[in-house]
């Protein structure tokens, strides 16, 4: 009789444990689905970065490559930097590009001072069409870029290849 009761109690415990395990599995699956749904939200934010990149590329710098006042945009400076050209005022296009992009990024950063963003990185590479070999033109970064939160990239034509540029914010 005692042996029968003990066996029944064991069965009840096994049943209880089974239910707990099932509920735990359902909970983990539910959490997994929720976490997966969060990923596109981070991607969506990159529209802002894309707007920032487009706006930055149009910015008129203080560097005139041919004559004054035909000042180059940042996009034109990227091409000039790759071609190692100089501005009319004698400054290197790359130096001017570096300074301008750094100032633009630093100033725009202030707009996000209340956000948890801790680092950023801007880079531009030149690559020939259909070629995987790339040449770095510029890299500007601040802070440790561990987890990428938001990123956007674009390219401009620079015959015979293209210049790809990207900006990422990290936190």
């Amino acid at each position: 009789m005692m042996h029968k009761m003990k066996k029944k109690a064991q069965e009840e415990i096994v049943g209880f444990v089974a239910i707990v395990v099932i509920v735990a599995v359902i909970f983990v699956v539910f959490l997994g689905i929720s976490a997966r749904q969060d990923v596109p939200e981070l991607k969506k934010e990159s529209k802002d970065i894309r707007n920032f990149l487009d706006g930055s590329m149009q910015y008129t710098s203080d560097c005139a490559l041919n004559y004054e006042p035909d000042y180059s945009s940042v996009a034109e400076l990227l091409k000039a930097c790759y071609a190692k050209k100089k501005c009319i005022n004698g400054k290197e296009a790359c130096v001017e590009l570096n300074r301008t992009m750094k100032e633009i990024t630093e100033t725009s950063w202030k707009a996000w001072k209340d956000s948890p963003i801790k680092a950023y990185k801007f880079e531009a590479h030149y690559s020939l069409n259909n070629s995987e070999k790339t040449t770095n033109i510029i890299t500007i970064s601040k802070g440790e870029c561990g987890n990428i939160a938001r990123k956007a990239d674009n390219f401009i034509d620079s015959y015979p290849g293209i210049i790809k540029y990207s900006f990422q914010l990290c936190y």
């Binding site: 920032f52 487009d54 706006g55 910015y59 008129t60 707009a111």
Partner: protein, 170 residues
Amino acid sequence: MSFCRVNCSKGQLKIQEMAFALLAIIIFLVISGLFYFVFKASSLKEDVGEQRENEAREIARRIANTPEFSWSTSECSNCIDLDKLMALKDKESYKGFWNLEHLRIEVIYPVKNGECLKVNYPECSSITLVNKSIAPLSSAFVSLCRQEFKKQGYIKCELGKIYAGGKKVE
């Protein structure tokens, strides 16, 4: 099951057990459902907020592309013509045209200060077109282009932001 200790048959006991088990399952489902709806309601609030922000961002993008704002060159489709905005700023016929609570354009780089007036333009930072109330604002980076008259004249584009806010939905 003390009330069944004497009279209840084994079958009745089984039925009672089943009833209790069903009751426990129903209680569990109800509690789970409550948790789910509370969770869903909170995420729904976030979704609504996000949706509003997206709409405002879309408004900002669309405003930047209207003929009244856009820089008339194919090279820069998302550029805003600052000179046009200064001309629009004091136009009585455009009051209420945007159907927004707030609409402002601000120069981010280079750093400048103050609201733009005819006396200090272009050495100023913001052009406020609508300022009915402090609505929840959405912003988008834009390129702000204008005619620069220094050094024989050239086109100068700066980095800015457009801020737009609609009516607050309760």
